[in-house]
Amino acid sequence: MLVVFLVLSAGVWQYANRTADLSYDRLLTGSALAIIERIRSRNGQVEVDLPYAALDILSLAPDDKVYYAVSGPDKSYLTGYKDFPPPEHYTPSASPVFYNTNYLNEPIRAVVVSKRLDDPGVSGWVEVRIGQSRNARNALSNEILLGEMAVLVLVITLALTSLAFGINRTLSPLNQLSRSLRERRADEMGPLPDTDIKEVKPLIASIDQYRTRLQSNLDMMQVFIADASHQIRTALSSVQAQLDMAEMEHDQDKLQNRLALIRNQHRKLTRLTNQLLTHALVAHRRDTNQFQQVKLDALLSAILTSEVRDHADSNIEFNYSNTHRDLTIDADPVSLRECLRNLIDNAIKYGPENNSITLGIDVEAEQVKIFVDDQGPGIPDEMLQRAVLRFERIETGKNTLGSGLGLGIANTVTEAHGGQLHLINRQPQGLRVELVLPRRRI
C-alpha cells in the first residue's frame, strides 16, 4: 500500500508540474511572439519596439521576474539582458522552443523563438529569448499537488478502511470457529457448527474429518490399553496362583510340574511385555520419521542369523530367498527389524515343531515385497482381514503364547513405510505374511 501511495504520489507530482508548466508556457509564448512581431528592419538596421503587452502578459504571474534578450542576425545583441542564456543546441525555428536555465541565481523557465528577416541589407534569423522565474508555476503546481494528494490520501484511507472491514468480516467465521473449538470439552464429539461462508466450509469439513480420525485412534488406543492390561493381569494372577499352589506342594514331581507352568506363564508375560514395548517403539519411530537408505540384504541376513542362533536347539528349518543383493530401500531399519523378528517369532510360535520358515524378497517395479513363509495352519479365509488388527488373536484352538501383537506391529510398520500388509494362505499348507513397501519415499 505504501508503494502504491509513493508511485501515485510521484505520478501526481509529475502531472502537477507538467500542468503548471503548460499553463505558464502559453504566457511565455504569447509574450515572445508579441516581441518578435515588433522586430523590423529599417534602413539596413534591425529595430525592436518592445510592446507594452509583452511584459503585461507575463505579469499575469504577478510575482515573477522576467528577463529577455533580442538578438539580430549573426547573434548580434539588440536589446534586453545581454547575457541571458540561450538553450543548448538551438537551431533557429519559427516555432517556440522551451528550456530551463538559471539566471541571476534563480531557476528560470524560458522560451526562444526566431524569425527570418529577408530585407535588403538585412538577412538572417532574429531571435527572442524570454524567461520567467518559477514562483507562479511552483505555486500552481503545489496547489494541484496538494489537491490531488488530498484526494489520493482520502482514496487510500477509504481503501484501507474497507480492506480492514472486509478482512475482519471474512475472518469472523474463523474467529467463531476458533472460539467454538476452544470452548469445546475434550471428549465432546460431533461435527462443528456449520457456516455460511463458502470459503470456510472445506476447512470445517477437514477439521471434522481430522477429529473423527483422531477419535478412532483414541478408541483403538483405549481398546489396546484395556486388552493389554487384561492380558498382563491375567498372566500375573495366573503366575501368582501357580506360585501359591507351588508353595503348598510337597510332592517333588508335582512341584516340578508347577514350576514348568510358572515358567511358561512367565515366558508369555515376557513376550507380551516385549511386544508391547516394541509396538510403542515402532509407533514412536513412525511419528518421528527416522528414515534412511537401508541395505535389505544385510538387514535380513542379520535377522536370520540371530534367529538361527536363538533356535539352534529346535527342529525348525530357516531359509533365505533373495536374488537382489544390492537392493536398498528408504526405510527405518530399527522398525523394520523389529517387525520382521516379530513375524518370524509368530511363525515359530504358530507353526509345527519341524517348521520350515522362509524369509525372502521379491521385487516388482518400484515395490519391494518382503515375505515370511511358514508351515503353520494358516488363517481361515474369513479371518484374514481381522487378523491384521492388534490383539485379534486367531482362534486356532492351539495353546500357544500368541497375543496377536505381532501382526499389529507389522501393520503399524508397513503403514509407516507407506506400504501394505498382506496375509496369504499357502497351498497346501502354511501362511505367507507379505510386506509390500515402496522402494523410495514419495
Binding site: M1, L50, D63, K65, V66, I156, L160, A164
Partner: protein, 361 residues
C-alpha cells in the same frame, strides 16, 4: 497493513502541518528590538526625493527610535539607479525613488530583499510588488498653471482640451509652456512614456508642446518657480505633490488634475541586497507604510499619503475633494519596465528629441 495505515496518517499530519505553516501570522510591529540603548544603529537612506519633503517622516522615525541614526542622501533618480547598479554606492539600507520603472528593474534584476510587512498594514493592490517594492505615496501627475495667464480664458481641464487650446490659441502659449526634459529627468521620461500607454493622443500632445516651443526642465520645482513668476503660463506633467504643496503657499499657481485621466505614481521604497542593517531598514519601511507614518505624510509633508484612511492636507481625501477624478494609478510591476528597454528608450528619446530640438526658440 498497519505500516501502510501509519504512513497514511503521517501523510495526513504533514499536510496539516503544511497548511498550518502557511497560516503564519507575522508580528504586527517589529520595533521592539531597537529600544535597547546598547549601540546606535545607523540607517543609510539613498533617495530621489526632496529632502524637505521627506524630513518630517525621518524625524518622526528617529523620535520613535532614538537609537537609530538616519543618514539621508539625496540623488537624482537616474543617477541613483546607475550608482546603485554599478556599485558606486555601498552600504545603502533603504532606497526611495519616484522612478518606478527603475525601482522595478532593481527588483527584477535581483537587487532587492524580500520584506515581511504585517498583514495588518492594508495596502492597495497596485502599490507593491513581490514583497520587495513598496509604494508609499499617492502622487497624481498634474498640470500646473499661472492663474493670471488665464484670467480671460478657460483653463484646459483635460489632455484633449489642452491639445485643442495649444492649437487654437497659439499666442497665449507660445514659449509659455513648460515640461520635463525627458533626457534629464527620470520622472519626466516615465510620465511621457506612460501617457503613450494610457492615451491615444499622447503623440499629439508631444507635437503640440513642441510646436509651442515649450521650455524643458529638469525638475518640477524649477517649473513651479517660473510659473509663479509668470515666465510660464502652464506646466505639463508635473508632480502633483509638489505642485499642490506650492499652490497652498503661492496663490498665483493653480493645479489641474486632468478629467479624462490623471496618472498616479507612487514613490517606491525598497531594501537593497547590499544592506548591513536589514532589520532596521525593514522597520523603517514598516514605519513608512504604517498608519502612523502615513498620517505624518498626510499631515506634515509635501508628499501625499498612499493609504486613503490618512487625514490632512496631503491626503487623497483632501486632493480629490469636490471633484470627480479619474485617477489612473500605475501598477508597480513588470510592465513599467517596458520603457527601460534599451532600444525602446533610445527610440523614444530620439523621436522626442527630433520634435523638441526642431522647435524655434
Amino acid at each position: 497493513m498497519k505500516i501502510a495505515i501509519r504512513a497514511a496518517i503521517v501523510c495526513l499530519l504533514s499536510i496539516t502541518a503544511l497548511q498550518a505553516a502557511e497560516r503564519r501570522t507575522p508580528s504586527d510591529q517589529g520595533f521592539e528590538q531597537f529600544t535597547t540603548p546598547n549601540s546606535v544603529k545607523r540607517l543609510d537612506i539613498y533617495s530621489a526625493t526632496d529632502t524637505r519633503a521627506i524630513k518630517p517622516i525621518i524625524e518622526a522615525f528617529e523620535r520613535r527610535h532614538p537609537y537609530i541614526d538616519v543618514r539621508y542622501n539625496e540623488y537624482e533618480s537616474t543617477t541613483l539607479y546607475n550608482a546603485l547598479t554599478s556599485g558606486k554606492i555601498k552600504g545603502a539600507d533603504v532606497v526611495l525613488s519616484s522612478a518606478m520603472d527603475l525601482q522595478v528593474k532593481l527588483v527584477n534584476d535581483g537587487h532587492a530583499r524580500t520584506l515581511d510587512i504585517p498583514e495588518s498594514i492594508d495596502l492597495p493592490e497596485w502599490s507593491h510588488w513581490r514583497n520587495e517594492a513598496f509604494g508609499f505615496t499617492f502622487e497624481p501627475v498634474v498640470i500646473a498653471y499661472n492663474k493670471a495667464s488665464f484670467e480671460n480664458a478657460p483653463v484646459p481641464s483635460s489632455h484633449e482640451s489642452l491639445v485643442d487650446a495649444l492649437r487654437n490659441d497659439p499666442e497665449r502659449y507660445y514659449e509659455k509652456v513648460g515640461s520635463y526634459d525627458i533626457r534629464l529627468s527620470g520622472a519626466g521620461y516615465f510620465f511621457a512614456t506612460h501617457d503613450t500607454v494610457v492615451s491615444s493622443i499622447s503623440g499629439r500632445i508631444l507635437e503640440s508642446l513642441a510646436r509651442a516651443a515649450s521650455h524643458t526642465y529638469c525638475c518640477t520645482s524649477d517649473m513651479l518657480d517660473d510659473l509663479g513668476e509668470g515666465k510660464l503660463a502652464l506646466a505639463y506633467n508635473v508632480l502633483g505633490s509638489y505642485a499642490l504643496a506650492r499652490a497652498r503657499k503661492d496663490s498665483r499657481i493653480g493645479v489641474i488634475m486632468p478629467e479624462d485621466y490623471t496618472l498616479v505614481m507612487s514613490r517606491i521604497a525598497l531594501v537593497p541586497k547590499q544592506t548591513d542593517n536589514f532589520a532596521t531598514a525593514q522597520a523603517f519601511i514598516r514605519f513608512l507604510l504604517s498608519k502612523e507614518g502615513q498620517q505624518i505624510i498626510a499631515s506634515k509633508s509635501n508628499l501625499i499619503a498612499l493609504r486613503p484612511e490618512a487625514t490632512g492636507p496631503s491626503s487623497i481625501a483632501a486632493i480629490s475633494e469636490k471633484r470627480q477624478l479619474r485617477f489612473h494609478p500605475i501598477k508597480i510591476g513588470l510592465p513599467v519596465m517596458t520603457f527601460q528597454d534599451e532600444m525602446k528608450r533610445e527610440r523614444f528619446i530620439r523621436e522626442w528629441s527630433q520634435l523638441f530640438d526642431a522647435r524655434t526658440p
